[in-house]
Symmetry: C3
Subunit: 200 residues, 3 copies
């Protein structure tokens, strides 16, 4: 198991946690908690696989993603009170997941016949579409569209990926740099409360 696989599974775990916590806030039952956790964790990657024409998507072929999401959802169900107290750790973990997912997403997209712009979009979709599905299922306006400096870090990471790739850097090095940049940008955004402009 490589470091990337480890980050991928821990990203899956923490994304599922955020979905399950949302389900708990919305007073869903145990099944709703598991579904929302799972959709949040695998929704983005599954949508990317669909858009790239890869069937069946990897989550139906490798069970570790579904079971990781299941464990995270059950953990949220059991430890809900403790989890709300360690919110800063959850935010850090979410940033790690974001960086990993966007890097994997762009990397996969570049294997297919898409433009660099298309690859950047597909990277961002991989990272944020699961969260958008979570918010829609919970009947909230998607978080990434209204508040916070979140999806924009994926776009920045994606552009840097394309630029480094054009410089001829080895793929593994590019992926490490981009993951680190996205995580760092996200943590800075949380720390300094960065915001995007809004219309007057």
């Amino acid at each position: 198991m490589t470091l990337l696989d480890l980050l991928d599974l821990s990203g899956t775990f923490f994304f599922a946690l955020s979905g399950a916590m949302m389900a708990i806030r919305k007073k869903m039952d145990l099944l709703g908690i598991i579904v929302l956790g799972t959709v949040t964790a695998i929704g983005g990657g599954t949508l990317r696989e669909i858009l790239l024409g890869r069937f069946p998507p990897f989550v139906f072929q490798q069970d570790q993603y579904l079971y990781t999401a299941l464990c995270a959802s059950l953990a949220a169900f059991i430890f809900v009170e403790q989890l709300t107290r360690i919110n800063s750790i959850v935010l850090l973990a979410d940033a790690l997941g974001l960086g990993t997912f966007v890097t994997i997403g762009i990397s996969q997209a570049l294997e297919a016949d898409v433009t660099p712009t298309g690859a950047v979009i597909l990277g961002a979709i991989t990272a944020v579409a699961g969260g958008i599905m979570r918010d829609l299922l919970a009947q909230e306006i998607p978080y990434v569209l209204t508040r916070d400096f979140y999806a924009i870090t994926c776009i920045c990471g994606g552009v840097i990926f394309i630029l480094l790739e054009k410089q001829g850097l080895p793929r593994r090095l590019t992926m490490s740099i981009v993951t680190a940049v996205v995580v760092l940008l996200r943590l800075l955004a949380i720390r300094y409360n960065w915001r995007l402009p809004r219309p007057r």
Copy 2:
């Protein structure tokens, strides 16, 4: 026409009915009623086809599903008052649709290159995704996530399907048993008001 085909079309009819009734409650116009009925009836099967990589999905190749959903939606539009009075028949019909759709879904998924866990999930998606789309279009938190012992019957049915298949039972027999089990579980859940646990 086999018994399975008959159950499949009547499941389509009754799922469309539930979508059209929701549209009527939400004061949609005639087109909204038809769209919501149709999406509820064919949404789950279409999503399964997409995830299994089968294009174009069957509803665009065989017209009977679209026209069955259209008839059910028009019937709901015309007989709305009578239908609300015979709600228990509608619930029974919905249970039959649920059992049939989950059985067809798993059976189709097992032909593709997915894990048993993946097949169980795809069976449940076939049965409940149309209802989730109905609720999202009507701006309600999906029913299956919050209340009632509904999607869990599909998971139970799916696990039994996999176990019977491993015992070497003929596919047709397995499908009959699983359909009956899901319908029975669902009716028991309605009768005895079964609930899943919720967080405190």
Copy 3:
């Protein structure tokens, strides 16, 4: 560049405008405005490509659609006050986009292995699914389901397309007629405030 390409890109522009305006009304930030504009503009075409099994969908292979949607979203962000004043021009432009998208959608669907009914549905999906995604992301009941004579013009256009095609008319002529008919129907519907029946 043919007239159809021109109409296609201007349809993309005006659909993105309607998405971006909705995002502004919902107090989204700049990224939310761009995402909502883009999804509204390309969502329908992308869903059609998925249902027809064409991967990756054209927007990831030809950048002009993404950049047109980006420009429209930025224009909405900057000129929001002026745009609300020229609402009738926006409605006219939207009608042009509707006619173009439905015509392109049916035409593409007929190349694939679908029934005529399926092609009509796929044409309507091309034209209205982006707007449905816009409304869901903004947490509104989709406009096309509740009010106005909108999606029904796509169905009418689709049926006329199939009839003309059966008469052996050349495809280009059929496409021109259908686009004109849909635009005209839509403008008449706005002018005379046409409505579909509703249940009592």
